[in-house]
């Protein structure tokens, strides 16, 4: 059993090593490249993308849906698992919230990047129509962002206090930790407020999380288009979100375990549990996919049939089957074996699941648009296909880099695993406070 001091040393945020610095530099370079590309877009217009009147939503929108999906992991791990009394997930709560906050911030930015006139964004507030699913989406995303930040912050308060005391020799650092810890000292009143707040947030975040991804799904499901006109879309998207989120947490927890030497805290047991959870979530998602694709395929309704033919056998077939089989089926099968739920294989599988999730959203967004009700006529041949341009990819990579940069920066300054909760659960008691602590 570790002592409190050992615990804090293990879990305190570490400075960037060489690899850390290279990583940050790489992300910054990508982001700068994306900013240049966005400058081109802001001055020349969306013509710099591969989108045209038929493929009118492309990778910006599928990227946006991906970010919203990943952000749901915050509610899954932090709230749902916590509310159901699952203790083993405690080390993973902070990672999940960090992913959630980073994803939802970049999701909001991505949707602004897709706008033709971002300079008129205030119109959403001055002339917003409550009848529009986009307005609902703006409302839920904002709400979810605030909840996620609060759910990241509240459990952080005791940890910030611990870090303030740990770094009492580094005046400036200690002062900042102190400021953000809001004078936390674990007294009865504070604990009461804290407990009520976290409980409330955990309960609140679940319907809002369901809301955020259901409303995003409704951006598609409220239209008539075959491939989107489905009453299945809300639950289908949410199930997919949990899969993507779980894959994301697995990937990040493996990386952070290595870089921060957290083998004692994020153990093989955690990987095993997450692996089992991922299998379950994938199976649920596959169930929704079967409903989504097999049912219309049975009916051969004209427009649906043409769209499905493209997905199953046509231009999109390679991508579609890769995403389903390599991105979902094979991982689910592999993870049934305990050997595959060991850290390294699980990490690889998790990464594949996340990448598959990104492309799955692309499959949902653009192919439907290339099968409108009326035939595509009277436009250049290139408009019959969608090929994102280099600038468009650069901007998209920029948003992904942005999300990873937010995660990296948060991990640099706050403990990845909640120190005080880990201490409590393992009955590691904090040593008595000394007189010098009181003064600072």
């Amino acid at each position: 059993m570790k002592s409190f001091e050992e615990l804090t040393n293990d879990l305190a945020p570490k400075k960037f090593g060489l690899y850390g610095k290279i990583w940050v530099a790489f992300l910054v370079v990508v982001i700068l490249g994306a900013m240049y590309a966005y400058y081109q877009q802001a001055t020349k217009g969306l013509v710099i993308t591969g989108m045209r009147d038929y493929a009118l939503w492309g990778i910006y929108i599928s990227n946006f849906v991906f970010f919203v999906a990943i952000s749901l992991v915050g509610s899954l791990v932090t709230a749902i698992l916590r509310l159901s009394g699952v203790k083993w997930a405690t080390p993973l709560t902070r990672i999940s919230e960090i992913i959630a906050v980073a994803a939802i911030i970049m999701g909001g930015l991505t949707i602004i990047i897709d706008m033709g006139r971002p300079d008129r964004i205030l119109n959403l507030f001055t002339h917003g129509r409550l009848q529009s699913p986009i307005v609902w989406d703006v409302i839920v995303i904002t709400t979810y962002l605030v909840i996620s930040i609060l759910l990241l912050y509240f459990p952080l308060l005791p940890d910030l206090q611990i870090l303030r005391r740990k770094y009492k020799n580094k005046k400036k650092l200690s002062k900042w930790y102190g400021k953000f810890s809001l004078n936390w000292n674990g007294n009865t009143t504070q604990r009461k407020i804290y407990k009520w707040s976290i409980q409330t947030l955990s309960v609140l975040i679940v319907p809002v999380a369901f809301g955020i991804h259901t409303v995003t799904a409704w951006l598609f499901a409220t239209t008539y288009r075959p491939g989107w006109d489905s009453s299945n879309f809300g639950p289908y998207f949410i199930a997919g979100a949990f899969v993507a989120g779980a894959g994301g947490v697995i990937s990040l927890m493996y990386v952070l375990r290595r870089t921060h030497h957290l083998k004692d805290y994020i153990t093989d047991f955690h990987f095993d549990q997450m692996g089992k959870l991922l299998v379950l979530l994938i199976l649920v998602y596959l169930y929704f996919n079967v409903n989504e694709y097999l049912v219309p395929a049975y009916k051969t309704t004209e427009k649906e049939a043409a769209h499905l033919k493209e997905l199953f056998f046509g231009d999109e077939a390679l991508l579609f089957w890769t995403v389903i089989i390599v991105g979902l089926v094979i991982p689910a099968v592999l993870l049934l074996f305990k050997k595959m739920r060991k850290p390294l294989p699980l990490f690889i599988i998790g990464l594949i699941v996340v990448i598959g999730a990104w492309w799955k959203r692309f499959i949902i967004v653009t192919p439907t648009l290339l099968h409108p009700f009326l035939p595509i006529q009277g436009v250049p041949e290139s408009w019959h296909h969608y090929n994102p341009t280099h600038l468009e990819w650069l901007i998209t990579w920029g948003t992904l880099a942005g999300a990873m940069l937010i995660v990296t920066l948060l991990v640099r300054f706050i403990p990845i695993i909640p120190i005080h909760e880990t201490a409590e659960e393992n009955n590691i008691v904090e040593p008595e406070k000394t007189a010098s602590d009181e003064k600072s």
């Binding site: 009848q131 609902w136 709400t143 308060l157 936390w184 007294n187 504070q190 409330t200 609140l204």
Partner: protein, 287 residues
């Protein structure tokens, strides 16, 4: 002898110059365009006017004679002209001149002339039109619960005009709609008797029917308008005033305003409390 030769040369030179100049003059004149002018007489109720159109051929296409000025005269028996005014053709090559006052003279026949001398661009323009007076009286009558449009065409001597082609139509926004067969011929009494079989819609039930003698050689165009109230009053079927999902934000359906706002207030109420809790934690450092 020599003097005579020089004189002959000078005369020859002068003659040749004259021919050269006059040929350029003639050539320049050939460049002037010939304008085709058409004159139409129109009478609508008590207002009579002349409609004048002018066009010319430019590279195998007809173009309106924009800007061309024309003098309008009434011609009397002794070929004397009385000026009625001067008009300018607009960019569509058309112009209108009111000649209602002329008809107070109560002549059986009226002769009009438009004329303009040659300009740089156009040749001399001259066109005449002879119109005889006619009167088209139209009214709405009811017989056995059916409405009829009755119109009588009489000439200046109050004699009926037989076999005249009259159009009977209903005024509509873009183009009039034919009533019945649309075209009816006057009988020996110069009358037509047209049943209105269809109850047409109109703003507040108002319907304006027209009886038109269209571009007759003798009488020009005469139109008589019958303003009636016999139409079906139109109903505004639009959803503009209703609360619908496609209305502006101020007219959103009630459920769409109430439920989202309740949800937002409910959740954000909690969020405000939670933020206040952060503040409270900060304040309660000594408990």
């Amino acid at each position: 002898m020599k003097n005579l030769n020089i004189k002959n040369h000078i005369v020859l030179f002068i003659c040749l110059s004259f021919i050269a100049f006059s040929s350029t003059f003639i050539y320049a004149q050939e460049k002037k365009k010939k304008v085709r002018v058409s004159l139409h007489f129109n009478k609508v109720e008590n207002i009579s006017y002349l409609k004048i159109f002018g066009k010319y051929k430019d590279k195998k296409k007809y173009k309106p004679a924009n800007g061309l000025a024309l003098d309008v005269f009434q011609v009397f028996e002794n070929d004397s002209l009385v000026s009625l005014g001067t008009i300018n053709l607009d960019k569509k090559g058309a112009a209108t001149i009111d000649i209602s006052k002329v008809f107070q003279q109560n002549l059986p026949q009226y002769d009009f002339k438009v004329f303009h001398k040659a300009t740089d661009k156009f040749k001399k323009v001259s066109k005449t039109l002879t119109i005889q007076m006619a009167n088209l009286a139209a009214k709405l009558i009811t017989k056995k619960d059916t409405y009829f449009i009755e119109a009588t065409l009489t000439n200046a001597q109050n004699e009926p005009v037989k076999d005249a082609e009259l159009k009977v139509q209903l005024q509509r926004l873009f183009a009039p709609l034919a009533v019945g067969k649309g075209i009816y011929f006057t009988d020996e009494n110069g009358m037509i008797h047209v049943p209105i079989t269809e109850k047409m819609p109109g703003v507040n039930g108002k319907l304006n029917y027209e009886v038109v003698l269209d571009d007759s050689d003798d009488f020009g165009t005469i139109k008589s308008i019958i303003a009636t109230n016999i139409g079906e009053p139109i109903k505004d079927l639009s959803t503009f005033d209703q609360r619908t999902m496609w209305s502006p934000p101020s007219k959103a359906p009630w459920f769409d305003i109430i439920i989202p706002n309740l949800l937002i207030l409910g959740i954000w109420g909690y969020l405000v409390i939670l933020v206040i809790n952060l503040y409270r934690i900060s304040k309660h450092k000594n408990s």
